[in-house]
Amino acid sequence: MTLIHHDFADQMDRFGGNTALECFNCGTCAAICPLIYEHFPRKMIRYLQLGAKDRILENAKELWRCLHCGLCSRTCPREADPGEVILGLKRYVVANWRKS
């Protein structure tokens, strides 16, 4: 069960990568990502969209798989900038992982 935290998207503003709500879940980023790993980065972006911060902290390790090649950001049809969102999530996790 994933509990939704209403203010999460706003909290993310200070970490950068606040474009996740532009995403309409098409999956282009996951298809183009060279990691080919379990819907990465789409799933992470979805967790951010929802405000499922527990899920993000639980799966934080996945964020560090990202090579920052930029393919997802270049192909995103909504300019949601997934690469930048992943970077922002890394900053968030670094700032918060001890608290959880």
Partner: protein, 635 residues
């Protein structure tokens, strides 16, 4: 019309025209063989073939033979008569002949599409022979011409009814606008900022209603219902009843009327435009009218007790409730406030009472399931979400949807805008609808919505909320009485059914009755106006000549043979089509059957029961049938 005593011995000259239909017919029927065989039938003057008889050169073949006097009866063997009978009748008219000297043989749907080889050719020959035998006995007929009153009756005073009324009145046609409530504006008056432009519904309604009320050619009958209906195109009689306020259900809205409104045609929010004094006593009237436009509209779906917590939790409301709250409460804070509660987080649930699926959704009390999409709720909901996010930035909005259908111009942008406004979308499968329950985690948010979210790969999400808004769909208004009186076709979805969705989109099979707006299907206000203007144009075109022409295929009494048994009158299915009248024959007063052609359906029930064979249907006489049967069983 040709005289009844036309000498039988005169040779009719039948022209037979057989179509290849570009292979549709000729791939299975040996068209040339059929031509060779029917050419030998007595009475056939000429038999020709063509690749496409309906083409201009094909029609020209027929017209030339008629002009040259080679033929005076025409048989075309081609597709179904529903497709091209009118085409060929009009070709005959253009050649200067009577269009009813025509008979159609269907050798495509009834032959080449279902039979093959030798048998197909044989059956085609039989059908053409039968048509030829009938053609020999065809008489020129004249269409029945009836006067049409330059008057239209419109049932329903919503946006569609008002639009049609103004359009017709501007064309110089008198209009009676019948509205059951004391207010004009219908469902549109219950809305506020319309998607996608946020135009005020009140401005649209006020603008049209003021034109309606002040138009010299429009008479508004408010608090009025339709009680009685008879007549035919051009000459309908509509019996109406005006109700005093005690007997109807608009007391709450009437309270909103202050003396200012009673004198002017001002808009009263969430009621409409008061169109004049409420009758003090019941009164019945009959309106003589040429055409009728139905604009009976829709109502909002009411969720059943417990549907997404509706009726169980006060925090669960409908989209209509929300729209009204948004319009009436403007607290100016950064949080939306509904019923005194500050809304930090709210859920919008799509498709409530729409796109219902048998086996998943329960039927309503009368066994109905709304399987259609209500079409307007997605845009209305997104519009409301955007207004909330832009006006109350601290209020979070979650939309739970099955599919987003922002189908119209400028409506997909609402979805884009909602994304920009940080509205969160959660998608569910129809069989796994979100559950609304009391929030067990904290007192901060009273309700919790659980949903299996497709967009999070089927993970269950829980959203704590202060408010749940149900995007209730629409249902057609209950008009079974009118449907029964006017014998109107109703679709399985309970909306009225037009003759053809593309070719005759605002017409009903009953000539002179038209459709406007949402009684036909869920529509937004713009589409309802398009439909209404279409119906108005069709109605005006019909009335413009001052008369209408009806097909002459109606019963005809042979006074010489009739001896007044009255069997035909008893058998007649159409009220008013047949009656016994007194007349004088050879100095004696006798009863004889008389047909009122405009009422006659041409069904032939009277022909079957007459012991004297004194009644026949023009264009389909017993003699013609006999000749057709003889042709089929010959040899």
């Amino acid at each position: 019309m040709s005289s009844e005593t036309k000498p039988e011995e005169k040779e009719e000259k039948v022209g037979v025209y057989i179509c290849y239909c570009g292979g549709n017919i000729s791939d299975h029927v040996d068209v040339e063989a059929v031509r060779d065989r029917v050419e030998k039938i007595p009475g056939v003057a000429v038999a020709r073939t063509n690749m496409f008889m309906c083409s201009d050169p094909g029609q020209e073949l027929i017209m030339e033979d008629l002009r040259d006097g080679i033929v005076d009866r025409v048989v075309v063997a081609s597709c179904a008569p529903s497709l091209h009978e009118m085409t060929f009748r009009s070709a005959i008219s253009r050649a200067g002949e009577n269009p009813y000297i025509y008979e159609h043989a269907n050798i495509r749907e009834q032959v080449s599409w279902v039979h093959h080889g030798e048998q197909a050719t044989d059956k085609a020959t039989l059908l053409v022979s039968a048509a030829t035998a009938k053609a020999v006995r065809l008489k020129p007929l004249e269409p029945i011409r009836v006067n049409a009153m330059s008057h239209a009756t419109i049932i329903g005073g919503g946006i569609a009814g008002m639009r049609a009324a103004v359009d017709l009145a501007d064309r110089g046609i008198e209009v009676a606008l019948i509205e059951k409530s004391p207010f004009l504006g219908g469902q549109l008056a219950l809305l506020d900022k319309l998607a996608p432009t946020r135009e005020k519904a009140s401005e649209l309604v006020s603008h049209l209603a003021s034109r309606v009320i002040n138009h010299a050619s429009i008479k508004v009958h408010s608090c009025t219902t339709v009680e009685h209906f008879e007549g035919y195109v051009g000459n309908f009689k509509v019996g109406i009843k005006k109700h005093p306020l005690e007997s109807n259900a608009y007391k709450e809205k009437m309270k909103m009327l202050n003396p200012v409104h009673k004198s002017a045609e001002a808009f009263i929010p969430f009621a409409g435009v008061y169109s004049g004094p409420v009758p003090s006593a019941a009164e019945e009237l009959v309106i003589d009218t040429g055409v009728i436009i139905l604009a009976t509209g829709i109502k909002s779906y009411t969720p059943y007790q417990g549907e997404y917590g509706y009726g169980e939790f006060p925090e669960v409301i409908t989209l209509s409730d929300l729209i009204r709250n948004l319009a009436e409460n403007n607290n100016g804070g950064s949080l939306l406030e509904i019923n005194g509660r500050k809304i930090k987080s709210m859920a919008m649930i799509h498709c409530v009472g729409s796109r219902q699926i048998p086996g998943i959704h329960p039927e309503d009390a009368s066994g109905h399931l709304n399987e259609y999409c209500s079409r307007t709720c997605c845009s209305a909901l997104l519009n409301a979400s955007n207004v909330i996010r832009e006006t109350y930035p601290k209020t979070r909005v979650y939309e739970f949807y099955r599919d987003i259908r922002t189908y119209g111009r400028g409506q997909e942008e609402l979805y884009e805008q909602a994304s920009k406004n940080r509205v969160v979308f959660i998608r569910f499968e129809s069989q796994e609808a979100p559950e609304v329950s009391k929030n067990g985690y904290s007192d901060e948010f009273p309700l919790l919505i659980k949903a299996k979210d497709i967009l999070t790969f089927g993970e269950e999400v829980e959203v704590p909320v202060d408010l749940v808004v149900l995007a209730t769909g629409v249902e057609p208004n209950e008009i079974s009485k009118i449907v029964d009186m006017m014998k109107l076709p109703v679709g399985p979805d309970r909306f009225l059914l037009e003759v053809h969705p593309k070719l005759r989109p605002v017409e009903l099979p009953v000539s002179g009755i038209f459709l406007a707006g949402t009684c036909q299907a869920p529509m937004d206000a713009g589409e309802a106006c398009s439909g209404a203007s279409g119906a108005a144009v069709k109605a005006a075109a019909l009335l413009s000549r001052g008369y209408v022409e009806l097909d002459p295929f109606v019963a005809d009494v042979d006074i010489q043979k009739c001896n007044g048994t009255g069997a035909c009158v008893e058998a007649c299915l159409s009220d008013g089509a047949l009656e016994l009248v007194e007349m004088e024959i050879d100095g004696q007063k006798v009863q004889r059957a008389k047909v009122t052609p405009a009422f006659c359906l041409g069904c032939g029930a009277c022909v079957a029961v007459c012991p004297e064979n004194a009644i026949d249907v023009n264009g389909w006489t017993l003699k013609q049938y006999e000749a057709m049967v003889n042709a089929i069983v010959a040899e």
